[in-house]
């Protein structure tokens, strides 16, 4: 019987010991590196993403939902990736994808808004840290060649802070004429806040060029656009995309499949567009928390705790699942209802970005997640 299997473990386990491994020095930080952070808002169900199909409790807990994984190859004899994640599955085969299961931030309650605040601000509690961990990451990178961009009209909390961040999203508004733009720019010269925003916007618009897009609805096009904005010498080094619609309280089976297909299409197009840069690219997909292990009365699931995070890209030490599998028996669950988190999401994020950018992992952990004491995870990035 499968129980408490030992998978690849590292300091990712909350409170685990750190192995002292050599790290690239800060000075070597390679700015050719690219980071795309995809935040799944609404609590994506980690048990649907990476289903523990061989766990003896799974079928009973998930009922007909378990059928979705029929014929899907097992990973580590326990997990099956949701079939809608076709491209991600292929990347896993090519050892360019790594999954972390039963992972959670330090947040242990069940409000989306608090949970998202924690995973975006990097604080240990909601609203205790004011700006975002991605913005603090920018402060650790060589300032001159780093551009950061939110693929949306406004800037999500994870990217807010003192470091300059641009935002961009295609629109159907007709452009204003250049003369007006120049004059508006002159008015804003006496207003530091608006002046900076306006200059940043014009720069990003020029870079995006004519996308022929009018919005961010077509996932595949969004992936291509993201790649085009991150490619080349002027490309953004750090980008964030928000993926909404994961809050599946009812009719989850269809909703999750649709969402997963969209995300998969986005990432497939992104990878394709990043041709030359893919080898230097890290994509992190994470969500604020997981969902209840048992389905609710409306064929959905409610807010939970442990979920799954995905790392993809050319620098990822892929082809493995990192999980200290907590089990699904009633007594295994967090508060009797949720997947018990056995890994720290903050450790994963700090470990992944420090490995990727060649930063000191301790410095990264301390800077990005100042209120956390667990060490940055190791073994996520190819050294």
């Amino acid at each position: 019987m499968l129980n408490r299997r030992n998978f690849v473990l590292s300091s990712i386990l909350a409170g685990g010991a750190t192995l002292a491994l050599p790290h690239k020095a800060l000075a070597q930080a390679a700015t050719s590196k690219r980071l795309l952070f995809v935040l799944q808002r609404g609590a994506a169900d980690g048990l649907a993403t990476l289903a523990p199909v061989a766990d003896p409790q799974f079928d009973a807990l998930r009922g007909a939902f378990a059928e979705d994984y029929d014929g899907v190859g097992l990973i580590d004899g326990l997990f099956a990736l949701h079939p809608s994640y076709e491209k991600i599955g292929a990347l896993f085969q090519q050892k360019q994808a790594l999954f972390i299961q039963a992972v959670a931030s330090s947040y242990r309650e069940r409000s989306h808004f608090e949970g998202q605040n924690v995973i975006e601000s990097g604080g240990a509690k909601a609203y205790s840290v004011r700006d975002g961990w991605l913005n603090r990451l920018l402060g650790l990178l060589p300032a001159n060649d780093v551009r950061a961009l939110a693929l949306s009209p406004s800037i999500p909390l994870a990217m807010q802070g003192p470091q300059s961040v641009s935002s961009y999203a295609p629109t159907s508004l007709p452009g204003a004429d250049e003369d007006l733009m120049a004059r508006v720019g002159r008015i804003y010269e006496s207003d530091p806040e608006l002046g900076a925003l306006f200059a940043e916007a014009q720069k990003t618009r020029a870079m995006a060029g004519d996308t022929q897009m009018r919005n961010l609805r077509d996932a595949e096009k969004v992936g291509g656009l993201a790649a085009s904005l991150m490619s080349g010498a002027d490309g953004a080094s750090v980008m964030m995309i928000e993926s909404n619609g994961w809050d599946s309280h009812a009719g989850q089976r269809g909703q999750f499949s649709r969402q997963a297909r969209q995300l998969d299409a986005l990432l497939a197009a992104y990878q394709q567009g990043m041709t030359n840069e893919w080898k230097d690219t890290l994509v992190i997909v994470a969500t604020e928390f997981g969902r209840t292990v048992k389905l609710n009365g409306t064929n959905g699931s409610d807010h939970g705790t442990g979920s799954a995070a995905l790392l993809l890209g050319g620098t990822v030490a892929g082809g493995k699942v990192i999980a200290d599998w907590p089990g699904l028996r009633q007594s295994d669950l967090f508060e009797g209802r949720d997947l018990n988190p056995t890994a720290s999401l903050e450790s994963v994020l700090a470990g992944a970005v420090s490995g990727h950018f060649g930063l000191d992992p301790e410095l990264a952990m301390r800077t990005l997640f100042p209120e956390r004491t667990s060490p940055a995870a190791e073994g996520l990035i190819r050294l």
């Binding site: 409000s111 406004s154 961009y168 999203a169 204003a176 003369d179 508006v184 008015i187 009812a250 409610d302």
Partner: protein, 460 residues
Amino acid sequence: MTPTSIAWNRFGLGGRPQDQLPDDPQRWLLDQLDRYDPRPAGIASQPSSTEAIEGYLSIRNIRRMARESNAEDRGREQVQEVRQTVRRNYLQAVAARGQQAIESDAPFAERMVHFWSNHFAVSVQKNQVRGMAGSHEFEAIRPNVMGNFRDMLRSAVLHPAMFIYLDQFQSTGPNSQVSVRRRRRGRDEAGLNENLAREILELHTLGAQGGYTQTDVTEFARALTGWTVAGISRARRAQTLPNGSAWANYLHEPGSRTVMGQTYRQDGHEQSLAILDTIAKHPSTAKHVATKLARHFAGDEPPETMVARLEKTFLESEGNLPSLYRAIVESPEAWTVEPVKFRTPWEWSIAILRATGGSGMNARRFTRMQQELGQVPWGPPSPQGYPDTANNWAAPDALIRRVEVAAQIAALSREGDVPALARHLFQDGLNDSTATWISRAESPEQGLALLLSSPEMMRR
């Protein structure tokens, strides 16, 4: 900002060319509390809640009948037709809201409508809500804006749009008559959905740190079972209410409930009403509401003195909303000379349309504009509603979109004397650089676009 400009822009929705400078800006604001019209003609002509839900119901019915008669293609066509009607109704509702905001002589009161509507947000991002979102504001929010928080809470959360948005309509007591019967027949169990209960506690009343636990959420969710929407099959034998909601006792979880240490032994829907009444006057609710209101008028970091004052007013007046508005207007923290808020896209768009004498846009264009600016009515990304702080709105792409919209609106206007309009709207608060660049514009149209894009217009 001058006191008049603060009254017009920070409290109101923006000055208009025809507005007289008030002698007493505070009085001008307080008078609006009496002048407020909960049901102006443009809004009274919109479909009622019970009419608004019909689109949703007929799509359900068409789908069911199509399935039963294996005519799914025909069903899809019919659904498309209904969807078009729903979409048209939504555009009309957005336009009616916009028109009321642009034309109102009580813009401070209208701002409070927008505030509460966002506090009790429903969202058309869940497509089933689209047809009903307007009726939620028009019938559940508007009539209560000059009333009591308790009544507003009841009508805002016990509304079909909210029931559908937060899944309440299908929540079933695990030991309700229906569940017991289904179990006996070996059928799939329907069950509890705690979404609405959680959001009422977290967003509408106590606030996330308001002192409740997961057990309280579940208990409250059990008490709420029985509330659903009229016209769906599970409500066939339910008691229908005038707003299109329904009470189905056979879906209700029997027994007493304990929420935050208090036990509720009431039968039927009285139980959830009693819980709502208790949390409506809870000190955590007072604090939560006071903080949001102070943030809306005195800055993203609400001054503690003002929060405390509003909290006290909330508790002493037992949630009397006009008392709160009076306390806001009389708070010195809300009258600081420097702008304290970056206007949200909705606020900015309404301000520029008031400044230029109306939209001249049809419903579709008006709605499209709101979408592109990022704050289309009743379309927030989550039940938390749209954010109310600058860091969520002051962003590069968002700013450039405003300039593009400003150019469009300026092109539709026939304003001749832009320098005078600028002076009228902001009086002595007009910056020299804005005034200079407007006076140097190559045409009135360009001058107006500059005024609408100016720093003065972006903040309040």
